[in-house]
């Protein structure tokens, strides 16, 4: 009884303090990272305040800025989740890049082969094929881990290289677009295009899918029995095994889900944005996804917010390069420093105990 009444009274202030305690280190880390980069930009002889303004507000100044940010946000968030979900079981998926490429290949293959089918058939097929292809690319390391106990970090990284060759082969041999200078396939059928949400500037409806996925993942990990087993496996695999959870199956499942999510990111790029498969379309989303996942400390609920913030930085940084000719790499430095400072704040917290 005593515990319960106290709990009620203090609930609000505890919640407030909890949130503050979680957000404060991030704020400090972001400020510190900006200060450090500002110093460098200043020493290079640029206008620091204008650089800050460009990097932070480009996304919100024009409709185009908002659309660009959202388009970046979708693959970033999916890649980050493809990293954090296996991480919640204690496994590291560094193969999001390959899974995204293979997902794109699956989508393009169906989109090109069945280009004449009507949209209501072709679009689901394109998505299904891409997600499945990504899931299979996640299943391979998962199965190797399950069967032979092969380290998933190695196998996921190495499968990335396989996928590079695969996309090169497809884009420059199988369905090569003869007019394009860069290895590119012919376009997929129009039925496989993701409908637009806004026509001008063009924003496809992938953003809605991505948000649905984020909500779905949150429900899965927090409200379902299987999600509980997954989280618990990461919290202590040995105890989970003792209490009847098939932990190796959970490792496998988490990697397959990750593959499917990264595959979805590939599908959305192909079906929503480029409408064809272009070599190197995966950009640097894997590395940024890892950074987002780590800044969010593996918390699936925090991933979308961090991903959105990083998308703002990415868009702002390319604007900064265009208008002020400050190298776009400055944004990477900011992102890396934020990660470092967030990790540092953990150490500070431990020290203070």
């Amino acid at each position: 009884m005593f515990v319960q009444t106290r709990e009620k009274v203090n609930n609000r202030s505890i919640l407030f303090r909890k949130i503050l305690g979680k957000v404060l280190p991030y704020l400090v880390a972001v400020l510190a990272a900006f200060a450090a980069v500002g110093l460098v930009i200043g020493l290079m002889g640029f206008n620091v305040l204008k650089a800050y303004e460009t990097i932070l507000f480009t996304s919100f100044r024009t409709p185009n800025g908002i659309v660009q940010t959202l388009l970046k946000f979708v693959p970033l968030m999916l890649q980050a989740l493809a990293f954090t979900i296996p991480l919640s079981t204690g496994k590291f998926n560094i193969g999001g890049e390959g899974q995204m490429i293979v997902g794109g290949i699956g989508a393009a293959a169906v989109g090109i082969l069945f280009a004449d089918l009507p949209g209501y058939i072709l679009l689901p097929l394109v998505f299904l094929a891409g997600i499945l292809a990504g899931a299979i690319w996640g299943l391979i390391p998962a199965w190797l881990l399950y069967k032979f106990n092969i380290n998933e970090i190695l196998s996921t990284v190495l499968l990335n290289f396989v996928s590079f060759q695969l996309i090169d082969f497809i884009a420059s041999e199988v369905w090569k677009d003869p007019v394009a200078g860069h290895p590119t396939t012919v376009p997929i059928g129009e039925g496989g295009w993701l409908p637009l949400l806004v026509d001008n500037p063009p924003l496809h409806s992938g953003i809605i899918l991505a948000l649905l996925v984020a909500v779905g993942i949150y429900i899965y990990t927090n409200r379902t029995t299987s999600g509980y087993e997954m989280v618990v496996t990461g919290a202590n695999p040995r105890a989970s095994k003792v209490f009847g959870i098939d932990v190796r199956k959970m490792f496998m499942l988490s990697l397959v889900i990750a593959g499917a999510l990264a595959g979805l990111a590939g599908v959305i790029e192909v079906s929503g944005y480029q409408h064809r498969l272009i070599k190197d379309f995966q950009s640097n989303f894997l590395v940024l996804g890892l950074i987002i996942g780590l800044i969010a400390k593996g918390n699936n609920l925090a991933v979308p917010f961090v991903a959105f913030f990083i998308a703002i930085l990415e868009v702002g940084a390319s604007a900064m390069q265009r208008t002020m000719s400050i190298p776009v790499e400055m944004a990477y430095i900011v992102e890396a420093l934020i990660l470092l400072f967030v990790l540092l704040s953990d150490r500070v917290k431990i020290r203070r105990r």
Binding site: V3, T225, G227, V242, G244, R353
Partner: protein, 516 residues
């Protein structure tokens, strides 16, 4: 005893985070005395002595040795001041010989050739003098726990300590070995040493100590000479006023016989020639055959690491038996997965709670449903019922007095005793047919131990079968209908309650078979 004390600890305070472990504790050690430091778990006994040995720094207070104030920053300082400590967990290198372990960390004369003949002579001399019978050339890994403890004491003697601290030294000893240890301690005191004896077992301090100090919740309660005091006074000192001694199970004097003796008819668990091999094909347990009936508490005694954990894990299906058969109510369960067994009504309290039963990174509520998470009311159609989980967690937290901020608190914030409470309360939270409990009261304070015992007896009354594996012989003698003794993976013998005798069990624990 001279009037001048060898050691005085004054006003010692120490807190870990917000948790005050010691609040202004005073401790005085006289020359040539065995001083018992008595208290339940979490009373602060070990913390106080860890401060003396330089493992922790006190927040405030002073240590006065031979009338002079000293600063002890590390165990190195402590050994220089001739203070030695034998911990509960031995710090030994298993692949080294006794002699190598003893001299390790000291500066031996000819250290490049490592000619240890002289050292060996010294060690042999010490073991003869103090009755610590150990072969200096034996490898540690070949030695039983009782002898390994002698090695640990020899290490301290070799370093020439005059104050020796023993932390729960009898935990892994047979009753015979305990007697031997006490004799050695007497010789040491006669030779001029002073000894601090940390324990939570009242009978031990009464049989060997000259003076006894009781700690409770980080406070001094009393310090008395043995002859001036009664058992009753110490019990009160240890548990405070909150525990009703009349209804207590821990301190009951044979009044339990009636409730313990009754046993049902149906066989719940049956093991038939169960064997478990490790990867190299060596058997970890073999030829295990026994059965447990409804309402029976079946004890397994033995020194740690003689196959008890493997026995539990075979029954739970965590490591399926290599040969033989395990039956639950007549159904073979030898190769069923753990999740099925948990669902069919087996509960488990693992020995190493932190490693095998606890999720430091998950919330307290998530911890409290582990193993039951697939069952109603926690899980419905694949979804978790968060309200049911939180309500159940709140209930267990208040029933078992788990000290936490609430069900959503992170597991890592809990102390050792509270982790044990979580794991124990979880096992009791669901009705079950068979409870496999391995050292269920380790790390608990006395009122909690009492609570666990009364739950065990209540479950027994309800017809549940219990396999109680314990290194605490008093616990087994108090509660069990029958006790099997394990030695090197085999059951040496099974004793009926009518024939339970401490020294007989002790002989069996060291591998001596009896015809009984």
């Amino acid at each position: 005893m001279t009037d001048e004390p060898i050691l005085v600890m004054k006003g010692i305070k120490k807190s870990f985070g917000t948790n005050a472990a010691l609040q202004d504790v005073n401790f005085t050690l006289a020359v040539r005395e065995i001083h018992g430091l008595l208290g339940g778990n979490g009373a602060g006994k070990t913390t106080l002595m860890n401060i003396l040995f330089g493992l922790y720094r006190a927040d405030s207070g002073e240590i006065i040795l031979h009338g002079k104030r000293v600063d002890i920053h590390s165990p190195k300082d402590a050994i220089r001041l001739r203070i030695g400590m034998v911990h509960q967990q031995f710090l030994q290198i298993k692949s080294f010989s006794v002699l190598q372990n003893v001299v390790l960390g000291t500066s031996v004369k000819n250290k490049f050739r490592l000619n240890l003949a002289e050292e060996e002579k010294k060690v042999r001399e010490l073991s003869a003098r103090f009755g610590l019978d150990v072969d200096p050339q034996a490898l540690i890994e070949d030695l039983p726990m009782g002898v390994r403890q002698k090695v640990e004491i020899l290490k301290a003697l070799y370093r020439g300590v005059e104050i020796l601290i023993l932390d729960e030294p009898t935990t892994n000893l047979t009753p015979q070995e305990v007697d031997g240890l006490f004799q050695s301690l007497r010789v040491m005191v006669k030779e001029g040493m002073s000894i601090v004896f940390i324990t939570h077992k009242l009978r031990e301090v009464l049989s060997v100590c000259d003076r006894i100090s009781v700690l409770r919740n980080g406070n001094n309660v009393m310090t008395l000479k043995r002859e001036e005091s009664s058992e009753e006074a110490f019990v009160r000192g240890m548990v405070g006023e909150e525990l009703d001694l009349q209804s207590s199970v821990v301190f009951s004097q044979g009044g339990l016989e009636e409730s313990v003796q009754t046993v049902g008819q149906n066989i719940v668990l049956q093991l038939d020639q169960v064997q478990l091999l490790n990867e190299e094909g060596r058997s970890l347990i073999k030829g295990i055959t026994f059965e447990i009936r409804e309402g029976e508490i079946f004890g397994v005694a033995g020194v740690a690491d003689n196959g008890q954990k493997e026995l539990a894990e075979v029954i739970l299906g965590i490591q399926p038996a290599s040969s033989g058969c395990v039956r639950l109510y007549g159904n073979t369960i030898t190769h069923k997965p753990t999740s099925d067994l948990l669902e069919s009504g087996i509960s488990y309290i693992p020995e190493d709670c932190l490693r095998d039963g606890f999720l430091p990174k998950a919330s307290v509520a998530q911890n409290l449903i582990l193993g039951f998470h697939k069952q109603k009311p926690y899980s419905r159609n694949g979804f978790m019922d968060l309200n049911a989980i939180l309500n159940a967690a709140r209930g267990l937290i208040s029933d078992y007095n788990i000290k936490t901020q609430g069900p959503t608190d992170t597991g890592a914030n809990l102390s050792g005793g509270n982790i044990q409470r979580v794991v124990v309360s979880r096992a009791f939270s669901h009705p079950c047919k068979l409870l496999v409990a391995h050292n269920p009261t380790r790390g608990l304070d006395i009122p909690s131990i009492d609570f666990v015992y009364s739950r065990l007896l209540q479950n027994k009354k309800n017809g549940m079968a219990t396999l109680l594996i314990s290194e605490n012989l008093d616990e087994l003698l108090l509660l069990c209908n029958r006790i099997a003794v394990m030695y090197r993976g085999e059951v040496v013998g099974v004793l009926d309650r009518a024939h339970l005798e401490k020294y007989e069990i002790g002989r069996m624990m060291s591998g001596v078979r009896t015809d009984a």
